[in-house]
């Protein structure tokens, strides 16, 4: 299945893109998107514990199941305000 993957802040810098449609295996969960990112850039490993995921504009748990067409965002520590 295909999802729209969005990266922000430091994740965007490490990943080298801000938005990409990616193919993921069926039964993928939110944090699985990190695996493909780590293959591109091993520095993502250091960030594993700091990253949160949002699916379709809502924070989800790491093991939230993904569906075809989902918009999945990798959310580094926020610093608004």
């Amino acid at each position: 299945m295909r999802i729209k993957l969005k990266l922000f802040s430091i994740a965007k810098d490490l990943g080298g893109f801000d938005e990409q449609v990616v193919e993921v295996p069926p039964d993928s969960v939110a944090e699985d998107v990190l695996h493909s990112l780590i293959q591109k850039n091993t520095k993502f490993i250091d960030w594993k514990k700091s990253l949160r995921y949002a699916v379709n504009l809502e924070y989800v748990s790491d093991d939230f199941p993904l569906h075809d067409g989902d918009e999945v965002a990798v959310i580094p520590p926020v610093s608004g305000g």
Binding site: I10, S50, V78, G80
Partner: protein, 146 residues
């Protein structure tokens, strides 16, 4: 009202949007950009947002504040893009009949905003380096500003 804007925030206008002849108390929180970070000199800042999600979350936390306190009006405006030193990056205004509610709701809103709304700050230092401000527990670094 809430808004994510690339324009300079008109603080007076945000305040005006909550003032009511029925509510005698207004509390305003303003976050302004600072000229230093972790002991280094910052020359300018840039904010980026995951806009549709940030908008959705602002809407949600405003509704939470509404449900929790007897407040009259709430406005939250966050600026994104390049922001000069000393300028407002966020303005929160709450009006209520009694001051306690305005203070509490205003504090709640900025705490919640800083805690989870997907907005990121990037600092430009005088030595030419540029860094995302990342104050997570995992990433330690100094205490959160503002």
């Amino acid at each position: 009202m809430h808004e994510i804007t690339r324009n300079r925030i008109d603080v007076e206008n945000v305040i005006r949007s909550v003032v009511s002849p029925e509510a005698g108390a207004v509390n305003v929180f303003i976050g302004t950009t600072r000229n230093h970070s972790s002991g280094r000199t910052v020359t300018s800042l840039e904010y980026e947002a995951y806009e549709p999600m940030a908008t959705r979350m602002l809407d949600m936390i405003i509704r939470e504040a509404w449900n929790q306190w007897d407040v009259k009006n709430i406005s939250v405006v966050h600026r994104i893009g390049r922001v000069g030193i000393g300028e407002a990056s966020v303005v929160i205004a709450v009006s209520s009949s009694h001051r306690d509610e305005a203070f509490r709701a205003s504090r709640f809103l900025i705490d919640r905003l800083k805690d989870g709304v997907p907005i990121w700050k990037r600092e430009f230092f005088d030595d030419g380096s540029v860094e995302w401000s990342l104050h997570s527990h995992a990433q330690k670094t100094e205490t959160e500003a503002g």
